[in-house]
Amino acid sequence: MKPQPLALKVLNIASGLLFLGALAMVFLYAPLEITMNYVQKIFYFHVANAWVGMLGFLAAAVAGVVYLIKHDQKWDIIELTAVEISLVFFLIAIAAGSIWARPTWGAYWTWEPRLTTAAILEMVYIAYILLRQGIDDPDRRARFSAVYTLVGAISVPITFMSIRLFRTIHPVVIGSNSSATMGSFDMTSKMLFTMFFTLFAFSVIFVDLFWHRIRLGLLAQQVEEYKLEEL
């Protein structure tokens, strides 16, 4: 096994430091929100996790399409990596959002476009992983998962739009806000800065995890090849 390249080691340390920095920013630097108090602090992590989840979703879609064009196993590993990371981070985002929603909306869960779409996206990811587990041949597994990624990547945004035809209560923090949303707030510049710092920190963590998972995927591929040679 090749040792970790220097850039990856630097990235490991950087993501650790940035995470601590983000924690410090959220708890020490950002001011308290008047109506929601400490509950609002989870918002920074909720947004950052959802952001990483979205990055993973986009990366998976792109990797799926590239695989179908190039037929290179490398893109299959990238696609799986993106899906796994996105699955975990969306799960954290949903959990954090629920914790925030309980005191703000009065319920852990509402059937609102973003929440529902996030839940359905998780289902698509779980189906994706079940599909992969059901296929032994690596080439066929890669082809089928790329096709399913593509189908999911198109259907999930349509799901979002179709639920959006109803009204929403999810606050839109940046940009216009309709009067139907609950729990929205105006961010001070310190809050805004904290949010963007957390987003940046989590983006770096995303890249770091991505890199590690791809290395793991390549190793797993080697193991599979050795096993085939043994036979």
């Binding site: 179908l68 359905i120 189906a127 059901g134 066929r140 399913y148 189908v151 259907s155 349509i158």
Partner: protein, 236 residues
Amino acid sequence: MDKENQTAEHKPTSSFVGVVGAIVWKDLAAELRSRELLSAMLVFALLVILIFNFALELDLSTRRVATSGILWATFTFAGTLGLNRSMAVEKDRGCLDGLLLAPVDRSAIYFGKMISNLAFMLMVEVIVLPIYSVLYNTNLFNPGLIIVILLGSIGYVAVGTLLSSMAVQTRTRDVLLPILLFPVVIPILIAAVKASSGFLQGLSLTDVMPYINLLIVYDVIFTAVAYMVFDYVVEE
């Protein structure tokens, strides 16, 4: 375009439409003789309605809001049964390999299977609708509803045929299809249920139109996607 020219060189007589027609005809003829797929789907659909009857206590007021939801849940479940069976038969008896060996465009196979799956689904719906009407004394003969059911079934079958041809090639095939299919057909269900209940409650066309448009968009997109990627699903 290239592919069509190539196949034309090998076998000049088989046009794209001819191939699609031949596959549809084969499926319908096989079904006409065995009747195992339609009867299973139909009995299953009626059982689902029966279960809903007891699960939801369908009195008059519940029926008004729940009818379109019950219908679509029934079609969805029965549809999965049909899709699974129709592809599994091809796989088990080696028909799929035979079809793939034929010097025809692979997407013609997709459209053939899709149209025959659609035909089975519509047949089940045509039988279920009047039975539901009689059982619950509800008038379901509404031209708008028929259009919604047609559009919804097209989208459902377009994705379903693609995913079922993937699912039959896996180890966990019988359980995998609904897991793969349901999360990605949710837009169809949302739009179809909303549009159906809109028509049944006599809403104006402007209220229902967004959902009809959504169904059309979904149908077009997913038929196109399935057409493009079907090659990768059956490639050996």
